[in-house]
Amino acid sequence: MNLSKRRGALVAAGIATALVLSACGGSDEGGSEGGGATGGTFSMYINEPENPLVPGNTTESEGSQVVKSLWTGLIQYGPEGEVEYSGVADSIESEDNITWTVKLKDGWTFHDGSPVTAQSFVDAWNYTAYSPNTQGASYFFANIEGYDALQAPTDDEGNVTGEPAATEMTGLVVEDDTTFTVTLTDPFAQFPVTVGYNAFFPLPESFFEDPEAAGTNPIGNGPFKADGEFVPGTGITLSKYEDYAGENAAQADGVEYKIFADLNTAYTEVQAGNLDITRDVPPDAITTAADEFGDRFLESPSSQFTYVGFPTYDPRYQDKRVRQAFSLAINREEITEAIFNGTRAPADSAIAPVVDGYREGACEYCEVDVERANELLDEAGFDRSQPVELWFNSGAGHDAWMEAVGNQLRENLGVEYQLRGDLDFSQYLPLADEKGFTGPFRLAWAMDYPSPQNYLEPLYSTAALPPAGSNTAFYSNPEFDELVDEGNRASSNDEAIDFYNQAEDVLLEDMPIIPMFFGLEQAVHSENVSGVFVDVFGQVDTSKVTVNN
């Protein structure tokens, strides 16, 4: 019903115009003909992917960058995160936001020549959801009917006690080669927005014969195909897929992903002109990179959202006035400038600016107002004699800014603070799930798909309480849940956003978390390439990169 093909087509047309324009601009210096592929190969930095290159098991940024070159999903996201029907889907429509009919375009093939059919999607989704396959993105299918039957039963101690009851979700039905239906457990109007994510990519038949081998020799349907196997610690070389059926075919002949253990080394290689693109700039080079690279230094907003959560299970932080007061006492601007050299933006809402539904200044308590903060704290009867314990995970560069937060609290509210930053991520996260924090704690979120829902439901809804979800502030408000739910049921995107914004208002009044920063992505590239653009996921669309001759 919403976000149907027409709207997508309009956006796509806009993009196509922009592409033609940029291609013309590029031809002045590059000497390439407008519109046509320019050829040539380029190289790009990634860090070690955490998992084999299987889309349903790739939920982190490094593997995703490669997977997104190799695969094209049902839909694609435009530069601003808008849905474009330039992928495999012709339309994704529903009458009731529960049963969705997905119609595919003809002519799409995998790199091994086999056709991309409705079955390719359904098989892939079932494979990812089936718990014995231990795919990281399994939970993405939790709202599809029959998901629970694909989860192995466990006893109270978490031991697996048998096989799942089924291998296929009842909510996925193949109608014909190019049509399948998806039945959800609850209405979810944003469903089409979610399916551009890795977890929803199709898999060829050959994958299921040997999934392990497919992890190192990935076969997708994207603009680039793998030229050889993926070598951990070294990387993978891709070349243009000549039979690519989509609109956004690769401009270059190939891309070589090189794994660097140390970002500094990759940056040095770009300086020397041996490497073409890094999607990241070492922190100590940030201040000089803009001068050194000029217009080859890129900065764009990312979906990264850093926040400080409150242990709402702790009586000390149960009064929302205390939480509001803390937020009012923090000068985010000062921290982003002094600690991050402007590589983060102060957060003024709980939904990142890269998403449709962001409202500037939505967070009333994100402005600095020391006087009001102290009033609120007095009203709440907060005990200032006890130090506030500030929690963060160690070895990840959070020490400096958490200390700055502590200093501001001391200065503005007159409370002492204590840093609790000695736990590694693997200890920190379980502690969060076990209600182990004794004070405000740091966490961050990057979106999976560009919808305000992705910034609300997985983080603060009652359904997302640990261990099922990431609601580690243990916030639970029926009003919030209800508004998110209404957003999920909404009949149009605008209506949905309206409900999500209302939910956000409830959240920002209750303040179980303090919004801190929004991320900014930095990238640099060599003179060898143009058309480099870092999208809202922090990734470079490799199909649009052109190599200068």
């Binding site: 070690e48 955490e50 998992n51 084999p52 939920t59 982190e60 718990s131 014995p132 231990t134 795919q135 990281g136 399994s138 939970y139 939790a142 989860q151 192995a152 466990t154 101690e157 978490g158 031991n159 697996v160 799942p164 392990e212 992890g215 070598v231 951990p232 610690g233 070294t234 090189k258 794994i259 660097f260 253990a261 140390d262 500094n264 080394t265 990759a266 040095t268 290689e269 300086q271 020397a272 041996n274 736990l423 590694d424 991520f425 693997s426 200890q427 920190y428 996260l429 379980p430 799930d433 966490l443 961050a444 979120w445 990057a446 997985p458 640990p466 261990p467 099922a468 979800g469 990431s470």
Partner: protein, 307 residues
């Protein structure tokens, strides 16, 4: 001699078992939940977590986990990391890189170190001796991380003499990282050789050799050096074992996909099978090269015999 070597090799078996159990226990004792950390900000589906814990025997007590590991090992299965990649693959892919780096580093430290040490030792307090003294002090006092970045920036980026990183150019790629890695040990080898040579130059047998009218070259190389090498060989032998354990800093800065990086990542991710597999191999190397050193003693000094 043959029986001695056989006995020593047999002795390594209980050592390897002991070492592997200790390492296993240490990884087991690490706090935190490795499976929870896999998911990051967003927890994995509960059934997936249960499945992973089952697959990696994380619900079992230490003893059972270790026995299961040994059981798999007996069938030639070293286990897999959390991504499902066999540990054996990781080792066979990364070890050659580390071996090349070690060979280059050892050659540099042995050849240059011994030559510098001998020249300094036979002309004590000469200008050259002082140069060696000052330069080795300097090198030893600079952290290897700093040295690596300086070398990379100067010789790689600015002068363009060496590749900045990677292994694309074969052995040549290993020259600069080899130099950086060898620098500290090189200084020790030079100092050790110098002291040892200087001491032996005053020994009776050297005076005798000179009195016999032997040419200076023969006295230095055949008599003094051979006797002076015992402490140096001990040091270099132990160093081979250490370097094969991987040089995390050098491998990271020069982006060499070697064993050091693998073990660093595995410890951080608490991947027991990977850590135990690799470290046990390192222990074996260490024992092996110590044996080689002991055998070399007998070669260098005929008075040492093993029965």
């Amino acid at each position: 001699m043959g029986r001695y070597v056989a006995r020593r090799l047999l002795l390594t078996i209980p050592v390897l078992f002991g070492a592997s159990f200790l390492i296993f226990a240490m990884v087991y004792a690490l706090p935190g939940d490795p499976i929870r950390a896999l998911g990051g900000d967003r927890p994995l589906a509960p059934a997936v977590v249960a499945q992973l814990r089952q697959e990696f025997n994380l619900n079992d007590p230490l003893g059972i986990q270790y026995l299961k590991y040994l059981g798999d090992l007996a069938q030639g299965d070293l286990g897999t990391d959390f991504r499902g990649r066999p540990v054996l693959d990781t080792i066979s892919q990364r070890l050659p890189v580390t071996i090349k780096l070690t060979v280059v580093a050892i050659l540099i430290e042995a050849v240059i170190g011994i030559i510098a040490g001998v020249l300094a030792g036979i002309r004590r307090n000469s200008f050259f001796d002082n140069v060696v003294l000052v330069s080795t002090t300097l090198v030893v006092s600079i952290p290897i991380l700093v040295l690596a970045f300086i070398a990379q920036f100067t010789f790689g980026l600015k002068l363009g003499l060496f590749p900045i990183s990677g292994v694309q150019e074969g052995w040549y790629s290993f020259l600069l990282p080899g130099f950086v890695l060898a620098s500290g040990s090189l200084a020790y080898v030079a100092r050790l050789t110098r002291t040892s040579v200087a001491e032996n130059m005053r020994a009776d047998y050297v005076r005798t050799a000179r009195a016999k009218g032997l040419p200076n070259r023969t006295v230095v190389v055949r008599h003094t050096l051979r006797n002076s090498l015992i402490p140096v060989v001990t040091f270099v032998g132990a160093d081979i074992g250490t370097l094969l354990g991987g040089a995390i800093v050098t491998e990271s800065v020069f982006n060499l996909p070697g064993i050091g990086r693998a073990i660093f990542d595995a410890v951080r991710a608490q991947e027991g099978a990977v850590v135990v597999g690799i470290v046990t191999l390192m222990v074996f190397f260490f024992i092996f090269f110590n044996l080689v050193v002991d055998v070399l003693y007998a070669v260098l000094d005929p008075r040492i015999r093993y029965e």
